[in-house]
């Protein structure tokens, strides 16, 4: 089955068209996993590429991601429980004491667009809440964000709490936010540092590729 038309609607961010194309593929008897992989995620890979080449802007990329999500919603009932394969699961949140979430939300949307499953814990997330979410959700990656230099220590506190609870080795930790640096990431023992939403996606892909 050829998913070119579907991919194109995703890349253009044509939501109605994409949903129609997805339905058409399902009606034609295509495998939902194939639609997801070769239609939707393949389109988002193109979007990611165009974005990094500078020929696509963030609002266009986000529209493509939203379009893709609408198609995924259509596919979901077609999957047997647990058989849909996503690129991986990521827990995200802005750390304790910090109420800023524009950056974190943007990262979450981009990761979702790239095929990851996101569990967003919101803002002002306490270390214990991160620990509990890691225990409950078993994600591959934990993403933490901070905008204020005064809340950066919460990142370290969260990593300590994960160690205490015996979960540190089960998850890779990625951090970001305006005052955060790669050096700080090293100091507190985070695995990855992403200076912006685009690099968060490639870092996340890198984590999974490294296994």
């Amino acid at each position: 089955m050829d998913f070119t038309a579907l991919s194109e609607t995703i890349i253009k961010g044509n939501m109605d068209g994409a949903v129609k194309e997805t339905q058409k593929a399902l009606d034609a008897g295509s495998d939902p996993q194939q639609i997801l992989d070769q239609g939707l995620i393949a389109a988002m890979d193109v979007v990611g590429e165009k974005f990094s080449q500078g020929t696509m802007f963030v609002p266009q990329m986000l529209r493509s991601a939203k379009t893709m999500q609408a198609c995924v919603a259509l596919l979901k009932p077609q999957f047997q429980a647990g058989t849909v394969s996503s690129k991986g699961k990521i827990i995200m949140g802005t750390v304790k004491g910090d109420l800023h979430d524009i950056g974190k939300n943007l990262v979450a949307m981009m990761l979702e667009g790239a095929g990851f499953t996101i569990v967003d814990l919101g803002v002002d997330v306490a270390p214990e809440a991160f620990v509990k979410a890691v225990a409950d959700e078993a994600p591959q990656i934990l993403g933490m964000s901070a905008l204020l230099s005064t809340t950066m220590p919460s990142m370290k506190a969260t990593i300590e709490a994960l160690k205490q609870a015996g979960h540190r080795d089960k998850v890779k930790i990625m951090i970001g936010g305006a005052p955060v640096t790669s050096q700080f990431a090293k100091e507190i023992g985070a695995d990855r540092y992403a200076p912006d939403a685009g690099s968060a996606v490639s870092e996340a892909k890198g984590v999974l590729a490294a296994g």
Partner: protein, 484 residues
Amino acid sequence: MHSLPIPTFQPRLKVLSREQALAIHTAALEILEKTGIKMEHEGARAMLVDAGARPFEGDWIRIPAYMAEEALKTAPRQIALYDQNGKKAMALADENFYFGTGSDTTFTLDLESGERRQCVLADTGRFARLIDGLDNMSFAMSMSNPQDVPKIEFIYVYAFAEMVKNTNKPIVFIADRRQDMAKIHEIACLVAGGEEALRRKPFLLNYSEAISPLRFPAHVVDRLIFCAEKEIPICLPSGSNAGGGAPVTLAGAMALGIAENLMGLIIHQMTRKGAPFLFGPNVSVLDMKSTVVSYGCPEWSLTQAALADMRDEIYGLPIWSFAGATDSKAVDAQAGAEAMLSIVTAMLSRCNLIHDVGYLEYGNTSSLEMVTIADELIAAALHLTKGIPVNDETLALEALDRVKGAGSRGIFLTDDHTFDHFQEALFLPELMDRSRYDAWMAEGGKDLYRRANDKARELLASHRLDPEMAPELAKEIDQLLGKL
């Protein structure tokens, strides 16, 4: 027969008509009345509801327009900032403008190596001292998030103490919550000679932020109330940046930012009528590729010029603004071009308190060289803004007669009129190089960045405060820091 002197027209940028200004103001009031604000501070919410605001859905409230109009009436139209010697230094009102640096950069360009590295407390001191020594800079901000402070939760207290020790000019400071703000206030009282003296002659102004869209976190409102009570001048923009926290269209972003500012002003004036509040949202744009908040874009210059028009048409309160910054990572052509655009337009639109001078990398890196260069760009812009005085002396017909009378050897360069007037008639640059090529090469063929580096080093090595801080006062401040 006498005639009146011809007044000098001073170039002025206007970007909004009265109709446009009123329409944005009306939209801001509609946001308060119809959309509402998420007021997370319980005390402030109760106070507002008592006064006529209507609560809905948890901590949201809707605020009738008359509450904003009342607050606008009681807020003072002039904010005077003093230097640390008690001399009036900044009369923030009407068309007066003052330039200064910015806060909270993670990195700085090292003066020795030129490398971008993380800021330390000594950088905070260096920037404050440089500001003290530069003629066109009126106030200091930290230009750093020093990573070497003993206790990170008091980072702003250490930064404030470092600034106080290194400049006598007014200081615009940041705080995190009521507790560290109280410590900063304590230090300021030590410097001013008591709380009453500080209240009468404040040398500091707080910069705080609500969160666009529509969100007022409790600890931000705590700071706002603290400043109102102590009459520490404050501004409270909300980061209503186009395409991020606010609509991508500038009118909508301004309306939202102004609504949020009015919300802050209402709480502030209800807490203490007549306490000084510097008006104005920051309305820049989110870059549509990198999602950084741009510091070199033309839009921010446009929105603050528009705000100056709204000040003149409606609010009458002095405004907060920015200039002299760039998104460039280096002190290069982009940096110079972007810095000059915002400096000239901020001056031409008569913004009042103009901060962020010397920022590189969308406010993530500070540069002593950039501040030094901007200082001269401000002087050049000032020359432009002063206009062309027209009178008998400047029309210089007599000088022309003299030069004509001197025959073929006549040149204005040798005439007394030139000797008498050239220093105020012309802009005489120091850093901007106009030397002949051979002379420039003989001086090492240095570009602007290198020349600014030389000047910054020289100033930091030679400049002394007038006076330097008394050792007893420095000791008191250090004792206070030791007890944090």
